[in-house]
Amino acid sequence: MTDPILEARNLEKRYPGVTAVDGVSISVPTGRCFGLLGPNGAGKTTTLEMLEGITEPSSGEILFRGAARGRGFREVIGIQFQSTSLQDFLTVREVMRFFAALYPRHAGIDDLVQRCELADFLDRDTRKLSGGQRQRLLLALALINEPDLVFLDEPTTGLDPQSRRNFWRLIESIRAEGKTILLTTHYMEEAERLCDEVAIMDRGRVVARGTPRALLLEHFPPSVIRLPASALPGRVRIPGVREAGSGQVEIFTDDVPHTLAELEVAGVALESLRVGSPTLEDLFIQLTGHQLRA
């Protein structure tokens, strides 16, 4: 295990009447992609902004490469906020030049244009970009100083599935360059695909942390069977059946053929049945007792 590039100990952020972040400790390993997961309002963004140095924590400690973050911290990090407007009346190229000039050393603009696929709209006013184009520009700005640590706050929220997949490829290429990525998301699919390690947050606290695979193995049997609740005859008793919301029930099992046989014996209609692996979404519901986007 590499040394952590960023560590937080007992972070708290209290606003009058609300504790947004309530004792969060995390450790981000160098060169990995670390995900903060949780529903809206879980405190992910506030935690991220404290780590970025944008918001001052009410209490707690943040260490960058083992020491307090100094003046040079901003020069070695890149940030993509959840919602950012850019200065009016500037084109994509001008915005990139502006941000590049703010750093003592910066990436080649042509290189970034290619990496983030900006060539088609380089001279367009930034207010006229589509959602996906805009996110790629914001990512390019986050990378403009060749940062060692990149913060991405809900980078694909609001993107269509195609743009989202494109964006994932970009993030994977950044990780492949050896940069550390710290991202927040409420899409579990995104976390499963991108993150080496995750911390699941709920109501201002971290409720679980680890690699997605280890977390799932720790909490679930390897398979889950889902079927409509209506398929179960009234008084059938199958061990391990539980409500999954939206008129669905689910059964976690180590032995899929055995469970299927049991269902068949009980006279359950198997037409709409699906077999799969538990996801981080299942884990989240298991840990917090509520839906991710309730």
């Binding site: 970025e52 944008i54 901003r74 020069e75 990090i77 940030i79 906020f81 919602s83 950012t84 407007s85 850019l86 200065q87 009016d88 009346f89 500037l90 001008e94 915005v95 030049r97 502006f98 941000f99 000039a101 703010l102 750093y103 003592p104 700005l141």
Partner: protein, 337 residues
């Protein structure tokens, strides 16, 4: 550590809006020109009274008082009356307190006619003829008097909204937060906003000024260099007011209200439209607190009276001092979030 590189980058990023925001540019240039042309048109009509005569003492003491179509304006002191006579605002000035005396402006055609009426009335009715004195000076039309005020007013709106409102909007929509995440410091950012606004405002003011020279045939009495310096200091001061407003506010509506609250009293009480000579002393004292008052005053003296640095020095010093105080307060109060 202040970085010139970052300051210049932030300055450059604010300048393209000057030529890309066509609507604002057109409005900033067209509005004052239309105002000036409008006033030039409105005030070209003849007065109902044929002559305006200023009187020191009681007009009824003079046989001239019986003359029809003459408007008599009572005066308290000689000097301001003579000043207006020089600018053709009075046709004649008479002093009837002791042995009658009168003044006229050599270059004012109506003055010579008014003089004949005056002497005629005395010849018929009075034992002593009034003694004659003259002053010199070219006519100043209302529109000439208005020009410095309109230039200053236009500059005020551009400074206040161009910085105050825009910075608040940038705070609300996250532009500032994104910049906060870079090495750009608050001081560099604010200095760049001020510098960019000065460039834009002075360019627009120059265009409007040149257009006025051409359209209404304004005749500049003073130094263009000094006038430029005056507008530079004045816009720095008004921009600082905008920055102070923008230091913490988070909604454009609040900023808009506050900017209106700050600009309208200045617009009315700073002598843009009418001279403050006759207004309530409390209002006049209040007007001394307004940057626009000093800017209009200095610009008008330079443009109409040919005042030099020594004469407008106090106004420029007040504006410069106010600028420093406002900037320091704005920088101290400023929040990115």
């Amino acid at each position: 550590m202040i970085s010139l590189r970052r300051f210049l980058a932030a300055l450059r990023a604010r300048l393209p809006e000057f030529y890309r925001d066509r609507a604002s540019l057109l409005w900033n240039i067209a509005m004052p020109i239309l105002l000036i042309l409008g006033f030039a048109f409105v005030f070209t009509g003849e007065d109902e009274d044929l002559f305006t005569v200023a009187v020191l003492g009681d007009a009824a003491d003079s046989p001239f008082a019986a003359t029809p179509h003459v408007r008599f304006v009572p005066l308290n002191a000689l000097a301001p009356g003579l000043e207006k006579l020089r600018r053709h605002q009075y046709d004649l000035l008479i002093d009837v307190r002791a042995a009658p005396r009168y003044w006229l402006n050599d270059s004012a055609p109506k003055g010579a006619l008014a003089e004949r009426l005056l002497l005629g009335s005395y010849a018929q009715a009075a034992p002593i003829m009034p003694t004659r004195q003259t002053v010199a000076g070219a006519a100043i039309r209302y529109v000439d008097w208005l020009l410095p005020g309109v230039l200053a007013m236009n500059l005020m709106f551009s400074c206040l909204w161009g910085v105050g409102w825009v910075v608040v909007r940038y705070r609300k929509n996250g532009v500032l937060r994104r910049l906060q995440a870079t090495p750009l410091t608050a001081f560099e950012f604010l200095a760049a906003q001020v510098a960019a606004r000065l460039v834009i405002v002075l360019a627009v003011t120059t265009v409007v000024y040149v257009a006025a020279l051409w359209l209404i045939g304004f005749r500049m009495q003073g130094s263009h260099g000094l006038l430029f310096l005056t507008f530079l200091v004045g816009s720095a001061c008004l921009t600082s007011v905008g920055l102070l407003v923008a230091a913490r506010l988070r909604t454009e509506e609040l900023a808009d209200g506050l900017l209106n609250l700050l600009s309208w009293p200045q617009l009315i009480l700073s002598g843009v439209w009418f001279s403050l000579e006759g207004v309530n002393p409390a209002a006049r004292a209040l007007a001394q607190a307004f940057p626009l008052t000093h800017l209009v005053d200095a610009a008008r003296r330079i443009m109409l009276d040919g005042a030099g640095l020594a004469e407008v020095g106090p106004q420029l010093a007040i504006l410069a001092g106010l600028t420093l105080a406002l900037l320091a307060a704005a920088a101290r109060m400023f929040r990115w979030n």
